[in-house]
Symmetry: C2
Subunit: 209 residues, 2 copies
Amino acid sequence: MRISELAERTDVPVHTLKFYLREGVLPPGRATSRTSADYGDEHVERVRLVRALVEHGGVGISGVRAIVGALESPPPSRHDLLGAAAAVIPTPAPRGPVDPEITGLLEELGWCTWSGAPALTALGDAVAAARAAGVPLDAATLRRYAAGMTEVAEADVDLALAAQDPAEAMRTVVVGTVLGDPVLVALRRLAQEAVSSRRQAAADAREDT
Amino acid sequence: MRISELAERTDVPVHTLKFYLREGVLPPGRATSRTSADYGDEHVERVRLVRALVEHGGVGISGVRAIVGALESPPPSRHDLLGAAAAVIPTPAPRGPVDPEITGLLEELGWCTWSGAPALTALGDAVAAARAAGVPLDAATLRRYAAGMTEVAEADVDLALAAQDPAEAMRTVVVGTVLGDPVLVALRRLAQEAVSSRRQAAADAREDT
């Protein structure tokens, strides 16, 4: 198909597709003349992936380039998949050394984490920011959050292991992590509502007896 | 203190503080002359809250205004706290009707959710975006995600119930939800790494025997 049809099928304007081509996140089509090229279904799929990462994952163009690069050259075995994935999954830039409380929490949980892991400094920063804003985020609550996220991570790893080949596993880990975050954020809000009304109903029942 | 000292103590430039005053997210100081005003510790605290919401919560200025307004006039009892909080916690704009699969999942979980809840449409959109990008997010995985987020929500509700008064409870729910998201996102990445190395170690042990 021509670029105009690719634009129509993906609902992304031609000038944005040309931007993706220039930035290297969309591979070039097969040249059919000096000024036009032919695009296939793999281009439609790629444009949808890029849009999803940008719109729903909040990933910048350089992050998209890193993710797309990783998807194109996955590690041959699954062993190093999460390491390779962690290197490209965007996390906020670290702002300082990791709080000993955080490293202590991870030790207590038995989570072996590379001390330079971006998620480790991101965790320290996020906890500090919440506390600075007056949220009483104590160690007990962090342990409960960690337990909940362990359940989520077990599902994530099972999903990656069920993949047919390393390329699909890599896509599941990287794209599933970035685009899974908004799913979890929405579920948290719905779960808060559910837990709160369940507790309220229990309290009302006690009052009635 | 003068506005220059407020800027120094919060590490936020004077022109940004003036923007916050104009936008109504920072209450005015006590006027000491026609051109200057006196600010107190409550202003330092408010500026830190606004910065945290903007920088770590990714909330826009109108979202900050809604949150700050809710914190200033919390509901008198805790009963309606989560409803009031849900109304101001920013969620992505809904893009369409909710997928029956999603409403079916919530029914199965026994989560009573108001069908117009923004988090409900946000969940449907996020699941659709992940699937469109090739993530094999099946119903079983969504149920496991929901279980993990229920643990998180139980901790959230306990934290809100432990608050001294409705004002503090409101702050805990609203600010704790927005600024807790990056904490959970970071924990998820660390948990993936931990679960993956635990599974790998178990697989290696089986091979050795």
